[in-house]
């Protein structure tokens, strides 16, 4: 479903909504938040006054048509800037709404006072209430399973069609409103107040009201306000300069020069860029709790990644059977399968998979299963025929064999060592205390993961693998996958310590987690991404929630953060670089009448002062909508090193920003000169 979500930038319905908001946002109280555009609004109001003044008979300010056009262009400039923000908001909201729609007003089976069941609309459920869900029910609210186990279809949220299992206790106890129970029944405790789910918070962030400017956005706004002030000074002081040179300058010319010089392009697009960043995160199925988190993601220095699921596919898999000398290969495999029949662990299942034998061929009626315990560190089966099969860590099986007086074959010992040093896990199998051979379990490194780590390294991000494996195995996998560092035999507090250590060195750290014991580390990390399937505590602690439960998502989040900052930087550069051409368009136009020599500065050979000024303001206006797609999509990030990236962006947006307006203004002038 996520793939089907519309990627079109301008959907008619959204455009209509955005257009309406473009006008609403003209309210000076709202405009005031954006100092650059607010000054444009003042200029527009002054131009309106000038037009009225001319209608009342003034002759000093040029023709009414010319002034009206300047007024109209400035007004449209404002609308364009508002539209940019509005369309970004509309897109973000539409995205969030489509997620929210799935969970609206579903009937809930509310369990009143722990006994009675009552059907109520989901909106009436409060935090702490308990509801029941059975096969076929849609889960009405976000919550935590307190009883039972169920398979759940989360495709409405994640777009992933394969059902997932959620059960009470443990780290997979969270359910999300809008998802569907496919089998079994569960009791769920509501964890959020209505209207306060993460999604609701996200929607509020996208909507103007509660959107806080991020620190970086504030700093940039200050810089832009600084530029605006410089140009206010430039334009205001031009009046006495003009008086001295006996050059009357019209109000329209002053305001046009001012509006052209101040960074309206970035000023108009700034908030759209920020919203679009959160929107892009949402499109990647990540709910961010603040715009700042997305920004921080771009700065990350260190990523803590769990080995399982991120670097390797799921769990270890059996990859080879190594029978001991003199043991028939078929007999060994049969023994392996028998020992694993009752083993529900992924490793156990993978042994049966590898053997590729049908379970039905084995007669195990009346057999006794020996469960794996931490003490014995082996599991197995005792068949009614008296056959005793054990499977486990090499030293524990060895103890069993040697206790019965049997030797541990030399070649098996070799094999065990070889498997270990290759990063695999050896499982030794014995039958009636006789060593049969070794099963090799290997971690399967995800295809393409090395390239992703390489890309991260080029971005300057260090990757750290967290695993419960012993240091030897961990080292092997770390090297094979290309991570920079690893934490072996990791306990939850190790993650926490590692994060603190890195942060002490001034680094920004991100981690992903799902369990309650991950919560402190998630909170400590600068960017903590909780899996949606994780516990409520984990989700509360992190500052992002990944709906897909995809551990590689961190990599995407880093790029989204970088794109956000880059888009701001490049458009600022572009906007300011534009000034060069605008100066050369307007300054000669201002003084040509009284100082004909300045005609030489009119290097674009613009037709007349009026056409020059109009072309410049029109260019200034249309560049805003022309750049909306870039603001919404973000500038493409290329991991080619900071200096190369700066060179590239300076060339495209800096040099481009100087050249484009020369061409644009000249072309516009050719059209405008027909009338002026």
């Amino acid at each position: 479903m996520s793939k089907e979500r519309s990627n079109k930038l301008f959907e008619p319905a959204l455009v209509k909504e955005a257009l309406r908001h473009s006008f609403i946002k003209l309210n000076p109280k709202i405009m005031f938040r954006n100092p650059v555009m607010f000054t444009v609004e003042i200029g527009t109001a002054v131009m309106l006054g000038v037009c009225i003044w001319i209608m009342c008979g003034d002759k000093t300010q040029g023709s009414l048509a010319y002034n009206l056009i300047v007024f109209a262009v400035l007004f449209v400039t404002l609308l364009f800037a508002n539209f940019a923000e509005a369309i970004a908001e509309a897109r973000g909201k539409a995205q969030a709404d489509s997620l929210r729609k799935t969970r609206e007003e579903t009937p809930a089976k509310w369990i009143v006072a722990g006994k009675e069941m009552q059907i109520v609309p989901s909106s009436q459920l409060k935090k702490g209430d308990i509801f029941l869900c059975e096969t076929g029910d849609t889960i009405p609210m976000d919550g935590e399973i307190i009883e039972g186990i169920a398979t759940i279809d989360e495709s409405a949220i994640t777009g992933e069609s394969a059902p997932v299992i959620r059960e009470s206790g443990g780290d997979k106890s969270s359910v999300t409103g809008g998802t569907k129970v496919l089998s079994d029944r569960i009791k769920v405790k509501v964890t959020t107040e209505p209207g306060e789910s993460f999604l609701d918070k996200m929607i509020a962030l996208v909507e103007g009201a509660s959107r806080q400017k991020t620190p970086n956005e504030i700093a940039l706004t200050i810089l832009l306000a600084g530029f605006t002030l410089v140009f206010i000074i430039v334009c205001v002081t031009l009046k006495p300069f003009g008086d001295y040179a006996s050059t009357p300058i019209t109000i329209a010319a002053f305001i046009s020069l001012f509006v052209c010089l101040i960074p309206t392009t970035i000023g108009g697009l700034l908030s759209a860029i920020g919203i679009a960043g959160m929107d892009r995160a949402l499109r990647a199925n990540v709910i961010t709790k603040s715009g700042k988190a997305v920004e921080t993601a771009g700065d990350l220095d260190t990523l803590l990644l769990d080995k399982t699921g991120t670097i390797t596919i799921g769990n270890r898999k059996a990859t080879n059977f190594w029978p001991a000398n003199g043991v028939d290969s078929k007999a060994f495999i049969d023994a392996c399968v028998l020992s694993s029949l009752a083993d529900e662990t992924p490793e156990g299942k993978s042994i049966i998979e590898l053997a590729n034998l049908s379970k039905d061929t084995f007669k195990i009626d009346g057999a006794v299963f020996i469960e794996f315990t931490a003490e014995t560190r082996c599991s197995g089966i005792d068949l009614v025929t008296g056959l005793r099969i054990r499977k486990g860590a090499s030293d524990s099986i060895r103890r069993i064999a040697e206790k019965a007086g049997n030797s541990f074959p030399e070649e098996t010992l070799e094999q065990v060592k070889k498997i270990s040093s290759n990063g695999g896990t050896p499982l030794v199998v014995s039958q009636n205390e006789q060593i049969m051979g070794v099963i090799e379990l290997q971690d399967i490194i995800k295809p393409g993961i090395q390239e992703r780590f390489e890309r991260l390294r080029k971005m300057g991000v260090k990757t750290v693998m967290v695993t419960g494996d012993n240091p030897l195995t961990a080292k092997f996998i770390a090297e094979k996958a290309g991570v920079d560092d690893f934490i072996a035999e990791a306990k939850p507090e190790d993650k926490m310590n590692y994060i603190k250590q890195e942060q002490l060195g001034g680094k920004l750290v991100a981690m992903m987690g799902d369990g309650t014991n991950d919560a402190p580390a998630l909170a400590q990390a600068d960017v903590g991404v909780a899996m949606n399937s994780g516990t409520a505590a984990a989700k509360e602690a992190g500052n992002m929630v990944d709906l897909d439960n995809d551990p590689t998502k961190l990599i995407e989040i880093v790029e989204i953060g970088k794109q956000l900052l880059m888009t701001r930087g490049t458009l600022t550069t572009f906007s300011i670089a534009n000034d060069v051409a605008k100066y050369f368009a307007i300054v000669p136009a201002l003084f040509i009448a009284s100082i004909p020599g300045l005609q030489s500065l009119n290097i674009m050979k613009l037709h007349s002062p009026e056409s020059a000024i109009l072309s410049a303001v029109i260019f200034n206006a249309i560049i805003i909508p022309a750049l909306i797609p870039l603001a919404l999509k973000g500038v493409a990030y290329k991991p080619i090193g900071a200096s190369a990236l700066l060179r590239r962006n300076l060339l495209i947006y800096g040099l481009g920003g100087v050249v484009v307006p020369f061409i644009g203004i000249k072309l516009l002038d050719m059209v405008v000169s027909i009338w002026f």
Partner: protein
């Protein structure tokens, strides 16, 4: 190659050859590292510390540095006002020069404590020898204060340095008084003594006797002013002060007797500003960064100096139109013993560095050379004044780092410190200040002149574009703490004395306070280690970025004003 051009190239190469070792030496002095001069200068320092009650090892936080700077300046301000307003009745006044009016004393005092040395008086008749000596003292003090402030910023910039903290948790680094005294005893005083002796042997006067008289070829008796000039000229150039002993400054034969003294003086103008950049490299242990800064400053400098030399050597088109050949180049307002190339080189070096001494009349430069002088002061960071030049450059670095940091997708950081809203606010304010002071000053003057031309008729000898350039130049020179003048402006009136005084004061202290504050705030932040994603600030690409920022903020914002002044004049003159 033309000998005139060769002379100019020689001057620049000589400066560089001296600046590199001097910079390293200064770096050592400010870091407190051992130097060869310790043996005989340590006792002198100790004496000063003892006399001043200074504890040189007590480190200060950035606010204490600023308080120390402002305190020193306030004390000297009061002393100077007192002397200048009463000099007529004080000793060392053989020519009987009168006391200054309060507005002129205000302007002169501000002018000298702010390292501007804008002179609305003429040295021969406007100030006594005691007054000259007090002003010379300021030439030392203001230069040392600027250098000490800059050294404090360098100390705070040291990346990944384990700073001590005071009990309020604020980073402390260096002692302002100690940096100040060391700037004097280790750099300015020794160099000045050597230079003064060299100048003395080239015929520069050094006496407390009054005017001398001689009988000219025509038989007239002529009075010639003299005085303790050699000592003052050395520090005037070395400390980018520029305030001359005589009204004609270094165009006067007794203040710059020959081509050799011209070389010495001109090298001194840019020596410490360039050395300061190398001192930075030594102190923060990033020589590459210093080379980048030096490279960008030099490119900017060359962009001004090369066309200026070419224009001045090419002659004045207005004179050309009269059918007069100008084989020597444009010689109006220039000294024959220096020629157009050396005069143009001096004009640009003195304006880019906030020195302001002149060896030719800037008023008579061809229009575009005049514009390059103006631009040199408007940017005020291509080398810039001693200490303060880099502080101005620092602001541009901060802005460039911010924008380019965003362009590579990382919260901007400079030498391991993140740049956030607070620093941006200060940087934007300081970057804004210079255009504000210049444009507002010039616009007020334009307003007064154009609305009441009869009352203010005395202001401008040349109305029109050139007159506008004169007014613009006066405020630019004041704001940049340069001190040179486009003469021809009637600037000895209360309006110019007071308005320029205020502009100088703001243009001096705010651009020191801002960078020190930014460096102090950044030093208090956590150090972020570099990674592959960090923007390198010592590359040519980043240098281009700084250059672009300077061009757009410092040069383009003056474009309309320049169009009405020198540019209009240039096109008006074109045949």
């Amino acid at each position: 190659m033309n000998t005139e051009i060769l002379g100019v190239v020689f001057m620049f190469v000589l400066t560089l050859a001296l600046a590199i070792p001097l910079g390293r030496y200064m770096g050592k002095v400010y870091m407190g590292d051992a130097t060869w001069a310790d043996a005989f200068l340590n006792p002198l320092d100790k004496l000063f510390f003892k006399l001043g009650g200074i504890k040189p090892l007590k480190e200060m936080n950035w606010k204490e540095h600023l308080v120390a700077l402002l305190t020193i300046n306030l004390v000297w301000f009061l002393l100077s006002m007192l002397v200048l307003m009463t000099q007529g009745s004080l000793p060392l006044n053989p020519d009987g020069n009168p006391s200054m009016s309060p507005d002129l004393a205000f302007n002169t005092t501000i002018s000298f404590i702010s390292n501007t040395n804008l002179q609305h008086y003429s040295g021969e008749s406007g100030v006594s020898y005691l007054g000259q000596l007090v002003l010379m003292l300021f030439q030392f003090i203001s230069a040392a204060a600027g250098m000490a402030a800059c050294a404090a910023v360098f100390l705070l910039m040291r990346p990944n340095f384990k700073f001590q903290k005071d009990d309020k948790g604020s980073v402390i680094s260096g002692n302002f008084y100690s940096l100040f005294i060391k700037s004097l005893t280790r750099v300015l005083l020794p160099l000045s003594i050597v230079i003064a002796v060299i100048l003395l042997f080239n015929g520069m006067p050094m006496t407390f006797k009054g005017k001398d008289q001689y009988i000219s070829v025509q038989g007239d008796t002529v009075s010639v002013s003299r005085g303790p000039a050699a000592a003052l000229v050395a520090i005037k150039q070395l400390g980018t002060n520029g305030g001359g002993f005589f009204g004609a400054n270094s165009a006067h034969p007794l203040e710059n007797p020959n081509y050799f003294t011209n070389i010495v003086e001109n090298v001194l103008i840019i020596l410490i500003p360039i050395a300061m950049v190398f001192a930075l490299g030594y102190m923060i242990k990033r020589m590459r960064f210093a080379y980048m800064v030096f490279g960008i400053m030099t490119i900017g400098f060359l962009l001004f100096v090369v066309p200026s030399i070419s224009l001045e050597m090419g002659g004045n088109p207005a004179i050309g139109k009269m059918g007069i050949t100008q084989n020597l180049g444009s010689m109006e307002g220039k000294e024959v013993r220096f020629g157009p190339a050396a005069s143009a080189f001096w004009a640009i070096t003195t304006t880019v560095t906030s020195n302001g001494s002149v060896n030719a009349m800037h008023d008579s430069l061809t229009p575009l050379s005049g514009m390059f002088c103006l631009l040199g002061m408007m940017v005020n960071a291509f080398y810039g004044g001693v200490g303060v030049g880099f502080l101005n450059f620092y602001i541009f670095i901060i802005i460039a780092v911010f924008i380019s940091g965003l362009m590579v997708g990382r919260t901007p950081e400079f030498l391991g410190k993140k740049i956030e809203a607070k620093e941006m606010k200060i940087a934007a304010m300081i970057a804004l200040l210079h255009p504000f002071l210049i444009l507002v000053g010039a616009s007020l003057a334009s307003y007064l002149y154009s609305h009441d031309p009869t009352t203010y008729a005395g202001w401008l000898n040349n109305p029109g574009n050139h007159g506008f350039s004169e007014m613009l130049y006066e405020y630019t020179s004041s704001s940049a703490n340069n001190g040179s003048g486009f003469e021809g402006l009637g600037d000895g009136t209360p309006w110019w004395n007071i308005s320029c005084g205020i502009v100088m004061l703001l243009g001096r202290f705010l651009p020191i306070i801002g960078p020190v504050a930014i460096a102090g705030i950044l030093a208090n932040k956590k150090y972020v280690p570099e990674s592959a994603g960090t923007l390198k600030t010592d590359t040519a690409t980043f240098g281009i970025m700084i250059f672009a920022v300077i061009f757009i903020i410092a040069a383009l914002s003056f474009f309309p004003a320049l169009a009405l002044g020198p540019i209009a004049e240039y096109f008006g003159m074109k045949p």
